[in-house]
């Protein structure tokens, strides 16, 4: 059975779509005259071979009806498509499942998926940090305060809403760390503004209200950045603000005018979101670039509308 079957495959291939009627005619022709069949010979040798083979089958044994009955199952569309599929599988299997298109698609899909998942993972990590202090039962950093800016105007925690805020606690008589950190803060601020626009309020809250009145703060801060807002108040206001931000400070409660002393205080930058919630503390070990990158990433994660966004413009 295998030999005629293979031949029939060839026939089906050669005949193409109209295999059934042509096959029937060919059987007829092979019986009546060989010259007629040769006149229909196409250039393909395989077709010719097939016809000779068919002739021999027909001539040897059976009449046309029997042959027709034999060949018909091979010309049925169902079996043809089945055979075609086997053929295709064979052709495909020659090279295996690997080819250039598949490789490119695989790499593109894999790379895209990896990039997306990495981005999502980082975003979720940031979100987790940002959400850590939201909700019930979480440590609360930040809170309401009412202080005075370096122009002598009232500045409350409500004035922080609608923009991210970068809060730093320091004092003007700080020997070395605060000035370095404020220089860094200026760099950080400029980087964030360059990438995200004016969505950040830079705040410096003094821990030394006895010496840092608005005038002193104004003189001090203008050397670092013109946009910096310096906040001061009376001793209790500052103490409460520091407490809200979990800032340790050692300011003496009563000082004589002109007295010389230093203040110990925590040295973190606090990033607060446009709703006034704490996002992340940025320590001294971060460079300006790294700190700016952290802030920019958080700012880009913000999906809600910024409230009162023109307040400081």
């Amino acid at each position: 059975m295998s030999a005629p079957r293979r031949l029939a495959i060839g026939a089906a291939r050669a005949a193409g779509n109209t295999a059934a009627p042509r096959n029937a005619r060919r059987t007829f022709a092979s019986q009546s005259s060989t010259s007629a069949s040769s006149s229909r010979v196409v250039s393909r040798r395989s077709t010719q071979c097939l016809r000779e083979a068919q002739n021999s089958i027909a001539g040897n044994s059976k009449p046309a009806n029997a042959l027709r009955g034999q060949s018909r199952p091979f010309t049925q569309s169902a079996s043809r498509s089945k055979l075609k599929t086997i053929d295709q599988i064979r052709a495909r299997n020659k090279g295996g499942p690997f080819n250039l298109t598949a490789a490119i698609l695989f790499l593109a899909a894999g790379g895209g998926l990896y990039a997306y998942l990495t981005y999502e993972k980082e975003r979720m990590a940031r979100k987790r940090i940002a959400d850590q202090t939201k909700g019930i039962g979480k440590p609360k950093v930040g809170g309401p305060f009412e202080l005075m800016d370096q122009e002598g105007n009232k500045f409350t925690s409500n004035d922080m809403l609608g923009k991210y805020s970068l809060v730093y606690f320091g004092f003007t008589h700080c020997p070395d760390i605060c000035p370095d950190e404020l220089d860094k803060m200026a760099l950080m601020y400029d980087k964030v503004v360059a990438e995200c626009g004016t969505v950040l309020t830079p705040l410096m809250i003094t821990c030394d209200p006895a010496r840092d009145d608005p005038k002193v703060l104004k003189e001090y801060l203008k050397e670092f950045h013109p946009e910096f807002i310096g906040l001061t108040g009376d001793y209790n206001q500052i103490k409460d603000t520091c407490k809200a931000y979990r800032v340790y400070f050692s300011t003496p409660s009563s000082v004589k005018p002109g007295e010389d002393y230093l203040v110990d205080h925590s040295i973190y930058f606090y990033l607060m979101d446009p709703e006034g919630d704490f996002v992340e503390a940025i320590g001294r070990n971060f460079t300006a670039d790294q700190a700016a990158r952290i802030m920019i990433d958080h700012i880009k994660d913000w999906e809600k509308p910024l409230k009162k966004e023109t307040r400081w413009e």
């Binding site: 020997p175 010496r211 003189e219 002109g258 010389d260």
Partner: protein
């Protein structure tokens, strides 16, 4: 009185309050102060003096070798800053020694700090 004594100094340090603090610390006064501090500390280094504030012997040695620079230091910095920097010098040295000691023993120094971005 404070402004009478500190005001007219021509090459002297920045304006100070009666208590010895800066009237208004600025970038230039800080720079002056740091320069005076570094000069004084260089002198201490040359004379092999580490502690110029906590011990009596240290104070005496600093007085013997570097009294001129010490006065400059006091003149250009707030008094609290002078004390702060002198103590910081000792603390910094001790920290370096501790780190060296641990590293010599094959230990690794991992200062407690927040993770940097990109570090997992």
């Amino acid at each position: 009185m404070g402004w009478f004594s500190s005001g007219p100094k021509d090459e002297g340090g920045p304006a100070k309050t009666s208590g010895g603090a800066f009237e208004s610390p600025t970038r230039s006064t800080r720079k002056q102060c740091y320069a005076a501090r570094d000069a004084f500390f260089d002198c201490l280094d040359k004379n092999n003096v580490l502690d110029s504030i906590n011990t009596k012997s240290g104070r005496e040695k600093a007085q013997t070798f570097c009294s001129q620079l010490d006065q400059e230091f006091e003149k250009n910095c707030a008094h609290s800053w002078v004390e702060y920097f002198k103590k910081q010098r000792v603390v910094n040295y001790q920290r370096e020694q501790t780190i060296k000691k641990i590293e010599a023993q094959g230990g690794e120094i991992t200062a407690p700090q927040l993770p940097l971005p990109g570090q997992k």
